[in-house]
Symmetry: C2
């Protein structure tokens, strides 16, 4: 089924009507509000919704007039589906052209904002290739995977208030680091500043109650969509601080996400089986089960990444290589009775594959600095230098066979402040 | 200077006019709003403020009419001082008696709510005695303190949405644990459910900018006040999961705080020097400096705790024994450029002293279960049993020599849900 739109879009546009991601935009002098991207345009959905009812659902015009997606996230899956059907209708049936067209703005003329007010942000460690690489680099004298790794998706809480939208400059963080031969830690700008190419999952649906876990089968009621996520990491600060309570200042200075939230609905055709979780057997609450449509409650996603460093694509991680599924991350997070609520954000952890060309961090790509990465401009890199620009891009198969885009997540490194 | 009030309060009331803590209350059928506790009464401060101006400051009647303290927290220190002066005036000058009295409600007639919408919650590990005890118990073959411990206040982000107000029942969490001799983890209710008696610091003042650390000297502009905090901990879940990224489900099911936020202003007379941070020398951003009033930017607090287990006081920790100061926790959290904003919450970490009678967790009190704790009812305990009730209480010297109370933080353990 290929949908055609009355908009002037090429067939290979990654933001065709199969995609319809949500974000928050503003025009000069106007308040930020929810928008939907189509091609290189932003649809002012609250303005169009105000022209007439969107199905029999809630008042989406006012839900979309807000400065974050959170009110829309809270509506839940049936409303998201109503909204998607309505968007598809108004963008494919030419009868709506005259009503809708005045509310489409060129991307170049709007500002894009952080799309959600982040509730709790949990970052996982779901790639076996990444965990093995980091284990070898950080703990060379131990087994690369800790004994718990294949029994549970390891995660930790990150700093929600330093999640920033793509395009926000990243100031090189200062902190304590201890050079291996130094007798005591020194203070100063991080000298091992890194990225982590991740997928972020945006939670919606009603807030759950304390003591009421979300099962694997119910996870789809709570995942609204995905963003590209760059978990900037100061490896030297992290290495000194992280035992025994985990990463803190090595991560908390900034986490960038892309401005467009691509919905789980748009990613239905991207679902793939996980690479395999047979050994060791999982405890029941983490065990995927077949669904009536022949799929599995614990599914992966076929999303192809590019990691671009100053204009050179240095890596092409594949999200389908991840060991743990998003539903398993949510089920694990809530199995102790912890709540989840609209606006929560889950990071997948670095997406790394089995080859050097599919590693999602520079720590791994440069093997802790031992193997520099050559860029097209003739320079070599190990970790980030001031002025460097990193861009994550990704795309996935859409529901009608054409590819859909997750857009870009961009950050430029500014020098540390004195 | 002893202030006298026209209220009928005994001299040793822990909630006299030296205290004046803020909380959020509601009467039956009415919306939650900010209140101030005096004796066993709650003052409806927005109602009184609406009768006339509170100094020349902002419109506190509307700030206090909200369902959390966050808007008041955002006002900053000069407004907090104006508010305190006004409260002192209306409660000590009998000319206000007739205007104020109708807005005082008995505590027994109101419901108390979570006093703030928690932003980011960071939990520290600031007691050397606690860290040494836990190190000996969890890592018997290593040095009890990790090499970084005396160089930085170790902390990690916790789950902000599961911070609950005192009185909320605590459902025993389920999760994975791995008995030492078992070949694989098992799933079920935690069998080593514990408390951590902590002090929570509530952040106010304007949100800071990314890349702009808060110095030790500026920390007082951001700390609004303190609460009692019980960091419920499932030790078996924690032990299995916490390497390498830190505690997650072992902590995230619930964190209880007391309903009354005692202000830093009310605790001025409780400031004490830290027990000592000479060896090793601290990096400059963590080094306390003398202030013009003869104190130090890195100060401790003289707050005496009681840990009550089913009616028996089993421990009396002293907050003055803590190694790291609150200002050091805030300076460290932001030194990498991370922001802080009103509503952020810092936990001190378990408050433990040098003796058994001053240990702030049952893990330590029972030495991991090896030394049961006798209760007055003739029973013995190691970890928490279903139906157990734990109450934290604390008090401190007030500004006029009388003691002020932090109130209570109570939680009862309910059986795990099937």
């Amino acid at each position: 089924m290929t949908m055609t739109t009355w908009l002037d879009l090429s067939d290979d546009d990654l933001f065709g009507v199969d995609n319809l991601p949500y974000g928050v935009f503003s025009r000069v002098g106007e308040a930020p509000r929810v928008g939907v991207r189509v091609g290189d345009l932003v649809l002012d959905v609250s303005a169009v919704a105000a022209l007439g009812d969107v199905g029999d659902g809630p008042d989406l015009a006012s839900v979309w007039r807000q400065s974050t997606l959170n009110a829309f996230l809270a509506q839940g899956r049936s409303t998201w589906q109503i909204a998607r059907a309505w968007l598809t209708e108004i963008l494919t049936d030419a009868v709506h052209r005259d009503g809708v067209s005045p509310h489409l703005y060129p991307l170049a003329e709007v500002a894009l904002h952080l799309p959600l007010a982040v509730g709790d942000y949990v970052d996982f460690y779901a790639s076996e290739h990444h965990a093995r690489n980091v284990g070898r680099i950080f703990r060379p004298d131990s087994e690369p995977l800790t004994p718990n790794w294949k029994h549970l998706p390891i995660g930790y809480h990150g700093r929600s208030q330093t999640v920033v939208v793509s395009g926000t400059d990243i100031v090189r963080p200062c902190g304590q680091r201890k050079p291996p031969t130094a007798p005591a830690p020194v203070f100063g700008p991080s000298v091992r500043l890194d990225i982590e190419a991740e997928l972020g999952f945006v939670v919606g649906g009603p807030a759950t109650d304390l003591g009421s876990p979300v099962s694997l089968a119910d996870a789809d009621e709570h995942f609204f969509g995905v963003v590209l996520l760059n978990d900037w990491s100061a490896r030297d600060i992290q290495a000194w601080e992280y035992v025994p309570l985990g990463p803190f200042l090595g991560k908390s200075f900034a986490t960038s996400i892309s401005p467009w939230v691509v919905t789980m609905e748009a990613l239905r055709a991207a679902r793939v089986p996980l690479p395999g979780q047979d050994t060791p057997p999982l405890l029941p609450y983490l065990r995927g089960e077949p669904t009536t449509d022949g799929a599995n409650t614990a599914y992966g996603l076929d999303i192809s990444y590019e990691v671009d460093w100053n204009g050179t694509v240095v890596s092409r991680p594949e999200y389908r290589d991840m060991y743990w599924s998003p539903a398993q991350m949510l089920a694990h997070t809530t199995v102790n009775g912890a709540t989840t609520r609209p606006g929560d954000l889950f990071g997948s952890g670095t997406i790394s594959g089995p080859t050097r060309e599919s590693r999602g961090s520079f720590l791994e790509l440069s093997w802790s600095g031992a193997e520099p990465v050559g860029l097209d401009d003739g320079t070599e890199r190990t970790f980030l230098e001031d002025g460097d620009v990193v861009t994550l891009r990704a795309s996935a198969p859409g529901v009608s066979g054409r590819r859909i885009g997750l857009g870009e997540c961009v950050g430029r490194i500014l020098p540390a402040r004195p």
